[in-house]
């Protein structure tokens, strides 16, 4: 079902008109209320009235994650505190967290785009959605929650963790949709198998997974483990949270809700705008947000955009599944490495599980990469030569995919720490 056909199937011309109107009004608001943006616009000699079309977006300044930190906590808010009804914050892995505010209208808009997203995955009012994203400062739980309620589905707000209880409720209440991070979905799938829960005890049919990059191989594995069709939902807290974009049943990229979030792809080095189909950094302008609209926020996510109308009938621009965030990208001996590439290699082999960890170190000024891989509980051999052959197979596949060699270390099943939220895939000891 298409939740809001007038927008989701609008002509490119109509969409440009919507975006242009919102952009003009947003510029007036931020120029008036946010000194940070007023200064930046003045530096470029731009007055709010100068911008009349979305085509002029390319002349406007960027916003970086650091700008949010520098203006912590409320410096980028455009409305008085009395109009803010909720705050979310991203984890401050390096120093201060970033805080994002929402007005009542922002929450309503967010609910709308999550309802649209769920409808893209063929979720309906009849569904029972187990929301196993964390509830709290993280946007995942509450974002999915409000959208699912807007759709009219039944929500089980169990939040992340408590795996035994998750499985019990999944069986007893007959959850049909699971929403969580792909790494937690893998943990749940593993636990289902271990607890001896049979496929016919479950009514799950759809998975809505996001908040961390995941591969097609991981999708195949999760679909098989859980007996579902798995969909990618994309979002980031700085922009709003989950629901910025979402896959439809054709799974040919995520449809961006571009009436609210104007997408651009730039070359991260030259900052030039790249045409549709080219790989670059995704830049988003959450143009309709009231509490904290951002101008050309650089997401650090690498992807491509495609503008052709989708087989589902939607005209919303599609973004390819993110290869990874430029932040997650490791440079090892001068080679760019994404953890998701390692995941692809491991999932192709039956004897390993999707649980792995990359450890990067520097010895004698030379980077070294060690990959810890859990052996599969069922499929390991008790012969050293077989295990060594497996190690060599992983090593040579990694070498051909990444272009660098890695030390492979086989470890016991379940010895790599499991995550109930986002998985910690990389330990970089070089810092």
């Amino acid at each position: 079902m298409i939740w809001n056909p007038s927008v989701e199937c609008a002509s490119r011309e109509q969409m440009r008109e919507i975006q242009s109107q919102c952009l003009t009004s947003m510029l007036e608001r931020i120029y008036k209320s946010v000194p940070f943006y007023r200064n930046k616009l003045q530096e470029k000699g731009i007055e709010p009235g100068d911008i009349k079309s979305v085509d002029q977006l390319k002349d406007l300044p960027f916003t970086l994650k650091n700008d949010l930190r520098d203006n912590y906590p409320f410096g980028l808010f455009t409305v008085p505190q009395a109009d803010i009804v909720r705050l979310h914050a991203s984890s401050g892995t390096s120093g201060k967290p970033t805080v994002v505010g929402y007005t009542g209208n922002d929450i309503a808009m967010w609910s709308e785009i999550v309802a649209r997203s769920l409808a893209m995955a063929n979720v309906t009012q009849q569904d029972i959605i187990q929301v196993a994203y964390g509830y709290g400062l993280f946007t995942g739980g509450l974002g999915l929650h409000y959208g699912a309620e807007k759709l009219g589905a039944l929500v089980i707000p169990i939040s992340g963790g408590n795996t035994k209880k998750q499985l019990q409720l999944m069986v007893d209440l007959g959850s049909t949709v699971l929403a969580c991070t792909p790494s937690y979905a893998a943990l749940l799938g593993e636990s289902i198998a271990r607890e001896g829960i049979r496929r016919e005890d479950l009514r799950l049919r759809v998975g809505v997974f996001g908040a961390e990059p995941w591969t097609e191989e991981m999708r195949a594995q999760l679909q098989q483990l859980l007996g579902i069709k798995a969909y990618d939902i994309y979002g980031l807290s700085e922009i709003i949270g989950p629901g910025v974009s979402m896959e439809c049943e054709h799974q040919c990229g995520n449809h961006i809700n571009e009436d609210h979030f104007i997408p651009e792809i730039i070359d991260p080095k030259t900052l030039e705008i790249l045409p549709y189909g080219e790989l670059g950094e995704l830049v988003l302008t959450p143009v309709s947000k009231e509490a904290m609209p951002l101008l050309r926020f650089r997401t650090r996510d690498l992807t491509r955009l495609h503008a052709e109308t989708c087989a589902c009938g939607r005209t919303l621009v599609r973004m390819e599944k993110c290869l990874g965030r430029t932040d997650d990208m490791l440079i090892i001996r001068g080679v760019n490495v994404f953890p998701s590439q390692v995941e692809s290699v491991l999932l192709e082999l039956a004897e390993t599980s999707p649980h792995y960890q990359l450890i990067v170190s520097r010895e004698n000024n030379l980077d070294s990469l060690e990959i810890k891989v859990e052996i599969d509980e069922q499929f390991w051999s008790d012969e050293v030569k077989q295990l060594e052959a497996l190690k060599n197979r992983i090593k040579s596949n990694i070498q051909s995919v990444l272009g660098i060699s890695a030390t492979i270390r086989l470890v016991e099943p379940r010895s790599i720490e499991r995550s109930e939220g986002k998985a910690k895939r990389v330990i970089d000891n070089r810092k």
């Binding site: 390991w380 008790d382 012969e383 060594e388 086989l410 470890v411 016991e412």
Partner: protein
């Protein structure tokens, strides 16, 4: 004649073998034979214990990755040529051995043999009048 051997994958971490043996001790499970194949960063503990199925269940519950592997236990005289005589029979029958471990005391030696074709190993040795221990006896040694 087939004997169920436990194979446990252990990371190279100090104390891991200690934990393994403690769990078996706490559950009153006796170890009859044990050998470790050590690779660079992990080891495989192979052991024969009383009540192997129970041991597997308990070890799994305690987070160990453990498999059952089928082996045979051969009895040969503790004298020069005792093992050679048995291995020659296997070699003459083109049977490949994956690994074995053995120990001798007084007049006899016990040899645990693992091969991908374990039933064939047993048949060939029996047909050549070599002595194999019954599983029930090995578990209780």
């Amino acid at each position: 004649m087939i004997i169920k051997q436990l194979s446990v994958f252990l990371e190279d971490k100090s104390g891991r073998l200690n934990e393994l043996t403690k769990i078996l001790a706490d559950n009153d499970i006796n170890i009859t034979a044990l050998s470790i194949a050590d690779a660079v960063d992990y080891g495989i503990v192979r052991m024969i214990v009383g009540r192997p199925e129970l041991a597997v269940r308990i070890l799994k519950e305690n987070g160990f990755s453990v498999n059952l592997t089928e082996v045979a236990c051969l009895v040969v005289p503790n004298q020069p040529g005792g093992l050679y005589h048995a291995l020659k029979i296997l070699a003459d029958n083109q049977i490949n051995i994956d690994y074995l471990y053995a120990f001798a005391i007084e007049t006899t030696a016990l040899v645990v043999i693992r091969s991908a074709s374990i039933s064939e190993v047993i048949n060939v040795l029996k047909n050549n009048q070599l002595e194999l221990l019954l599983a029930s006896r090995v578990y209780q040694l």
